[in-house]
């Protein structure tokens, strides 16, 4: 089993997701149950390969590295796609989710030789390190889902503006539902993002404050992301900004999030890294 799992490469799950994506594109032209089930089969195979790969490489690719975190977020989004493709099979999820999954994997491959991380040991530093990494990953899932909902929202809005026939082209959720999805994603992310930042802050307290820590691109981007989220919540609940503006702000948040992900990680003092 181990030798089989050891042979799984990034190409295995990238190919599976790519075939799923192609089949879903085909399904837009010729809808039918056969293509759907084959697509789901490929997606399931991709998920299996992806999860196995991450488990096998967990020692070499800790979550604190750009590659590790990008691959983990890609896996969570692929699971999200799989779940939604089963529950809301008429919606063109693949067109919106799978490209993001593939882009995240591509970024993971590109950033593979990023800074090597010192391994964690036990103690409070280790705890705060794990908490910091896990909370930011959970927040990242919300940011990604919010981005997907925002893109879908803008596409649906474009269709309505152009008065495209409701039964033509992509099948999407209605505006109200997409806005709700976006709002829930923001509400999910913000507490995790805040707690993740606080955990990171606790780590810095351990290490002693240094100005250059705050100039690290990853830390700066995560703080920037938090600021954008705070603005988003303010706009939504105090100014009652809705719809398009909210979607655009969420997309800005996703762009900052991508910058944070691909930036070389901040190296805490030995023993703290998640």
């Amino acid at each position: 089993m181990n030798s089989f799992a050891g042979k799984i490469t990034v190409l295995c799950f990238v190919a599976s997701y790519a075939v799923t994506f192609a089949l879903e594109l085909w399904r837009l032209k010729r809808p039918g149950p056969a293509a759907r089930f084959v697509a789901l089969g490929f997606a399931a195979a991709g998920l299996f390969a992806h999860a196995t790969y991450l488990i096998m490489k967990s020692q070499a690719l800790p979550l604190g590295t750009p590659t590790g975190s990008l691959l983990l977020i890609a896996l969570i989004l692929a699971v999200f796609y799989f779940f939604e493709a089963i529950h809301h099979f008429r919606i063109a999820w693949a067109i919106f989710v799978l490209p993001i999954v593939l882009i995240l994997i591509a970024l993971a491959v590109i950033t593979e030789d990023a800074t090597a991380m010192p391994r964690a040991d036990s103690g409070w530093k280790y705890f705060w390190g794990v908490a910091h990494g896990t909370l930011l990953i959970l927040a990242a899932v919300g940011v990604s889902v919010g981005f997907i909902a925002s893109v879908m929202y803008l596409v649906q809005l474009g269709r309505l503006r152009a008065k495209v026939a409701p039964n033509q082209g992509l099948t999407l959720f209605n505006l109200e539902r997409l806005e709700l999805m976006n709002r829930r994603a923001i509400l999910w992310s913000f507490p995790f993002l805040t707690a993740g930042l606080l955990a990171g802050f606790a780590l810095q307290v351990y290490d002693g404050f240094l100005l250059q820590d705050w100039l690290n691109p990853r830390i700066a981007a995560v703080v920037g992301l938090w600021v954008v989220f705070a603005i988003l919540l303010y706009l939504r609940y105090r100014v009652h900004v809705r719809g398009r503006a909210l979607a655009i702000w969420t997309m800005i948040a996703f762009a900052i999030f991508l910058i944070a992900l691909v930036s070389p990680p901040h190296v805490f003092a030995p023993g703290a890294q998640p």
């Binding site: 309505l160 008065k163 026939a165 409701p166 209605n174 505006l175 009652h240 398009r244």
Partner: protein, 422 residues
Amino acid sequence: MNLLLVGGSYKTIPIELREKLAFDGPKLPAALNELTARFGCEAVILSTCNRVELYLARPGSPSGLNADLITEFVAQFHQTGYDAIRQNLYSQTNADAVQHLFRVASSLDSMIVGEGQIAGQVKKAYEQSREAGATGSVMHGLFQQALAVAKRVKTQTGISRGHVSVSSVAVDYVRQVYDHFDDKTVLVIGAGKMGALTLRHLRDLHPRRILVTNRSPEKAQAVAKECSGTPIPWERLDDALVEADIVLSTTGAPQPIMTRQRFEGILARRSRGTMVILDIAVPRDFDPAIHDGDRACLFNVDDLKRIQEQTIHERQQHIRPAENIVEQEVKRYINDIRRRRHGPIIAQLTQEAEAQRKAIVADLFAKLTGKLSKEDCDYIEGAFKLMQNRFLHGPISALADDAPEPSRHTLLEAMMKMFRLS
């Protein structure tokens, strides 16, 4: 199978005659009882506003049903002249009748191709016949299959995609914006007849409240009463628009009642989401420049009609694939019937030949006891088996390739006589 179809549709019968020939209310069970009693057959009557069709089958009988006699029955039943209806009715038998039913159930023969009602009507017709005790094995299998084909056509082609009435298209647009309606306000402006059907569709969404306004308070009151809405004075139109999520406008005003400038003031006061405006009035009530696809989505009659025509055009492109599915399913159904009919005869023929071969071989071995080795015995037995198979191959293939007309018993009967099968 001996299946016969006699009937007519909007293509062959004018509406006045269709009304006369309808089997509605108590006429349906009465006609079914009379048909089964008089002709000793299974019967299903499909009677809708666009067609009247009688599907009859007399399984196991050597003689088929006579279309003229059935036409005569229809004329008598409805007290109409035979000659008056004969030219308007068509009749089909067996495979052709099966194909017709499959096309009808799949809405390929409907006035609006792809309409969703007909499959339900076919199902209801079958159930009513079953309740009247007029169905048997043929009708059961046939109608179940027809409904399965209709479902396959619907799911595997885009023939039923979209709506083709202006009011349904309007509601489709509303559904593109809103997910639930229990917190939404519908505002009805005017009391135009064109909007009545759309209003009925909007009411079916169960909005939180319906506001009605009209220049004439009496008319507003009347419309509000009809749709369980609340009448509001015309002077409060702008306030109502601030609160509204969905607007249905159907006034007879010669000029637009809402300019972009006036509407901008309304939008500035709104804190709610996108407003959907269905402007069904001609001339239009709302300035088209109001549509921005974000804060306000405005659809007028031209937009809705364009979508209606687009949908009809789109459906046309799915007719060929749908017809292919029907053809496949007809072939499969007929082959199935044939297999069921020929299967026992082929089995009997094979058993008979098998028994005779074994008897002859046993007799031969008894006479040659001691003169043959085990290998010789096996060789002889194999040779006889081969001869039997080669001999039966022709007749069995001929039966299997028998013409797909389920009523053609000639070859089957000839073989039964030739081989003395029961």
